[in-house]
């Protein structure tokens, strides 16, 4: 938000936001997260290893697990872990918002290559793992463990639409129904990261067919990628039905009623679950140019057991959430 040289931001009335069905932060916390997400179920999403185990049990495809490091003395043996993996990702077990994730695209056991072309050495990775264990990236700073996964071989379908970085599809799942979706595309400004508040572009996707319906960056509508110049209207998300199915499956593996599922597409394996988020942000509304509240209200108005199966829930969502 620039202040100088720019007209001050326009302010709208709460009533008009209400009419547009916009979900506010207080309402999200009070009426959805607190009501539908039990505190005791949070580890299902906050603990990545647990999410992974649940995903495997419920047939949700995820990136391949290499292993994990829990104690400081294990850190210097991390090479043993990745010796057979040509590429790997190190994640904090209790991280959030993509913090502390280190991607190595290829390595020879001494020189490690990052996706942006930089290289790093053993010490750098040693340090990074140590930082993860000491809780630097974990929620509340508690002691953490480091999770090793294989890299997702990102299909290049999005390459025209993203400046470096990993585009991922975010689906909000409410009571088992996928209610809203967007794809987050990195820009030069966001430094190759897919975080909207850092300047990444959010493209709202229709639940019906996964086609782009709106795109926004920094709260303003945008039609072309600022770095690549590609028109977002031409964006196509492959395997859309699988995205929906994956998201709806996630609702079966955790009792959480309101969460966000982040899905990336692997060239060979198709859509894979990256992580779940029990407190999904509200920027998805801006990316869709549409409020979330009316959709949530529609789901809440359904009688219990209206759509017993996953397929029925998806069908209902596709019919109603364009």
């Amino acid at each position: 938000m620039k202040l100088f040289g720019m007209p001050l931001p326009r302010i709208v009335s709460p009533r008009s936001l209400q009419r547009a069905g916009v979900l506010g932060m207080n309402q999200r916390n009070h009426a959805y997260i607190m009501r539908y997400n039990r505190r005791s179920d949070y580890p299902d999403v906050d603990d990545k290893l647990r999410t992974k185990q649940l995903a495997i049990r419920y047939g949700v495809a995820t990136a391949e697990l290499i292993g994990s490091i829990e104690y400081q003395y294990q850190v210097r043996h991390f090479l043993d872990l990745v010796a057979n993996a040509p590429d790997f990702v190190i994640k904090p077990g209790h991280g959030s918002g993509g913090r502390g994730i280190l991607v190595i695209t290829h390595h020879d056991g001494g020189v490690f290559h990052k996706p942006n072309g930089e290289v790093c050495d053993y010490d750098f990775i040693y340090e990074h793992i140590s930082n993860i264990l000491s809780g630097l990236y974990s929620l509340g700073g508690q002691v953490d463990y480091a999770l090793f996964e294989r890299c997702i071989d990102f299909s290049d379908v999005y390459s025209r639409f993203s400046f470096q970085g990993v585009p991922d599809v975010r689906l909000i799942v409410f009571k088992g129904y996928p209610v809203m979706s967007m794809i987050r595309l990195a820009t030069k400004e966001s430094d190759g990261r897919a975080n909207l508040h850092q300047g990444a572009v959010g493209v709202g996707l229709s639940i019906r067919d996964g086609r782009p319906r709106f795109a926004a960056s920094h709260n303003r509508e945008i039609t072309h990628h600022p770095d690549t110049g590609a028109a977002f209207s031409e964006l196509v998300v492959p395997h859309w039905e699988e995205h929906l199915d994956l998201a709806a499956r996630c609702a079966e593996m955790t009792p959480l009623g309101y969460f966000g599922a982040d899905i990336a597409t692997d060239r060979k394996r198709g859509p894979l679950l990256l992580e779940l988020n029990a407190r999904p942000g509200l920027a998805i509304q801006i990316a869709n140019g549409q409020g979330l509240l009316s959709r949530l209200r529609l789901i809440e108005s359904l009688p219990p057991g209206a759509h017993p199966t996953r397929a029925e829930k998806i069908a209902f969502a596709r019919e109603n959430f364009n």
């Binding site: 936001l17 506010g24 207080n26 309402q27 009426a31 340090e127 930082n131 509304q285």
Partner: protein
């Protein structure tokens, strides 16, 4: 959701209870104990009551002084340092002190205070049923009849007419004659004679003694006034003029015929009162009021009962709930994120110790240098806990450096850098530094500026002497703040910043 409705209703009931309880306690304190909502300086009267005597050898001396009558607009409190204690004897409360033999002194002083209190009319009871009149000699009776006949032949006058006429008549008479009418009493002859005469007419009367709350008179003797019962009320007459009046600023020490003071074990004794008007802040007065509550056996429930050092600590904390409410408003209603939830409040408390501007300069200085050193530390790849510990040490060293430099440069306002909450600053530096790396400089500076602004706003609230006075004197008002915070916990409306953020979603 019936369950959530139940929660909501019980919350509303709880909040209503908190508000009602707080208002009730505050109202009782204002109305019955005279705690003032205004913090302007007032005064109280300090009365020194000196009893002089000639002690008899080898005998203990016991002094008992009547407690002043409950007065309109004044509450009584014994000086806490006074050797006198309030004792209850036969339903009457008196100030008493015992000096064990041998008594070397011939004078004791009893100090008490009068604090402005809400006007409360002491219930004036009607006189007891006519007692058998004191035995009067026939001679005095005849003399009395003669006086009454002279003033009011035939007894046609109403008491309202009779009393002034009688007093005027007595005023012209020589002392000896008056003394002869009431030979047994040792008080003012005119008043005693008038009482005797009125009693013969069946009009109850008594003496009222008191002092003027006047600083100019040193060791004043109590004045005597005549109190007459007629028309279902007591009427006070000035004996030497016969006018019905009571001077303003007059403290009634004694009513009825109980003694004003008693001294046993002495030969002679006399009493004198000196009054001093002591200017005092509202807080000092409240302290005395709290002592009054204590003396009434209500066991003092206010913060004023604490030792002075604890009181000072709580005075500083008195406004914290209000500042915390402000943080809730800033975060949940306005929607401005601050770096660390309560960091602005703690920084504001530090500003309080060293004024806003030096505080701000100090804070920005410590933060800037701290961030620079933290950036250098991050290159060393330290583990988190040692790294933050290092930042803490750096912050302490910075504060010492600033203090020493300010002292050297003769800038006393900057010497107080030690008041910053060190750990909070260290965490702020740590958080700002990671935010800088993750979200970039713009986001970090935005959050830091927002936090500092919030701290400045908190400072303006915390530095209000009046708010501090009110929230310290009426600590129960914090229950209302608690209630508001609880209510804000259920506020699900839009935050102010969301009115801008989601503006594009409103279709034109």
């Amino acid at each position: 959701m019936p369950e959530s409705q139940f929660h909501r209703r019980s919350l509303y009931i709880l909040v209503a209870f908190l508000v009602v309880a707080a208002l009730a306690v505050a109202a009782v304190k204002i109305h019955f104990f005279g705690f003032s909502l205004s913090n302007r300086a007032e005064f109280f009267y300090q009365v020194d009551c000196a009893v002089s005597f000639d002690p008899e050898p080898e005998k203990p001396v016991r002094i008992s002084i009547a407690l002043p009558e409950p007065a309109d607009g004044w509450a009584f409190a014994l000086d806490p340092d006074s050797p006198f204690r309030i004792e209850e004897r036969g339903g009457r409360r008196r100030m008493e002190q015992e000096l064990s033999a041998p008594v070397q002194r011939n004078r004791v002083s009893c100090r008490f205070r009068l604090v402005p209190a809400p006007a409360r009319r002491a219930p004036l009871l009607p006189p007891p049923a006519q007692e058998a009149s004191k035995p009067v000699s026939d001679a005095s009776r005849a003399a009395a009849e003669a006086i009454l006949d002279r003033v009011d032949a035939g007894g046609k006058m109403t008491p309202r007419e009779l009393v002034p006429a009688l007093l005027q008549e007595l005023g012209t008479m020589p002392r000896g004659e008056k003394r002869a009418l009431a030979p047994n009493s040792g008080g003012d002859e005119t008043v005693e004679a008038a009482i005797m005469l009125l009693e013969m007419r069946g009009i109850p009367a008594r003496v009222v003694r008191g002092i003027l709350l006047d600083q100019k008179r040193f060791l004043q003797q109590p004045d005597n006034y005549l109190d007459v019962w007629y028309g279902d009320a007591w009427h006070i007459y000035r004996p030497n003029t016969g006018v019905e009046e009571l001077p303003t600023e007059f403290l009634i020490l004694q009513r009825n015929d109980r003694s004003l003071y008693e001294v046993s074990g002495v030969k002679r004794s006399s009493i004198g009162y000196s009054v001093t008007r002591v200017p005092a802040g509202a807080e000092r007065l409240n302290q005395i009021r709290a002592q009054i509550i204590d003396e009434r056996d209500l066991s003092d429930f206010s913060l004023f009962s604490l030792p002075a050092s604890e009181q000072n600590a709580f005075k500083r904390l008195a406004l914290l709930p209000l500042a915390i409410l402000l943080i809730v408003l800033i975060r949940n209603i306005v929607g401005i994120p601050t770096m660390g939830t309560f960091m602005p409040v703690l920084i504001a408390m530090a500003f309080l110790e060293m004024q806003l501007l030096p505080g701000l300069v100090n804070f920005v200085l410590i933060l800037t240098v701290g961030l620079m050193i933290r950036a250098w530390l991050s290159k060393l790849n330290l583990l988190m806990v040692p790294r933050i510990s290092a930042v803490v040490v750096v912050v302490i060293l910075l504060m010492q450096l600033i203090s020493v430099a300010a002292n050297f440069l003769k800038l006393p306002a900057f010497v107080d850098a030690t008041f910053f909450p060190i750990i909070i600053i260290a965490w702020t530096i740590e958080r700002a530094s990671t935010t800088w790396e993750e979200d970039g400089a713009t986001n970090t500076l935005k959050q830091l500026v927002a936090s500092t602004c919030a701290a400045a706003i908190c400072y303006f609230i915390l530095s209000s002497a009046y708010l501090q006075y009110v929230l310290y004197t009426f600590a129960e008002l914090n229950l209302i703040i608690l209630g508001v915070i609880l209510l804000l916990g259920t506020y699900t409306g839009y935050r102010f910043t969301e009115l801008m953020r989601f503006q594009p979603l409103v279709k034109k």
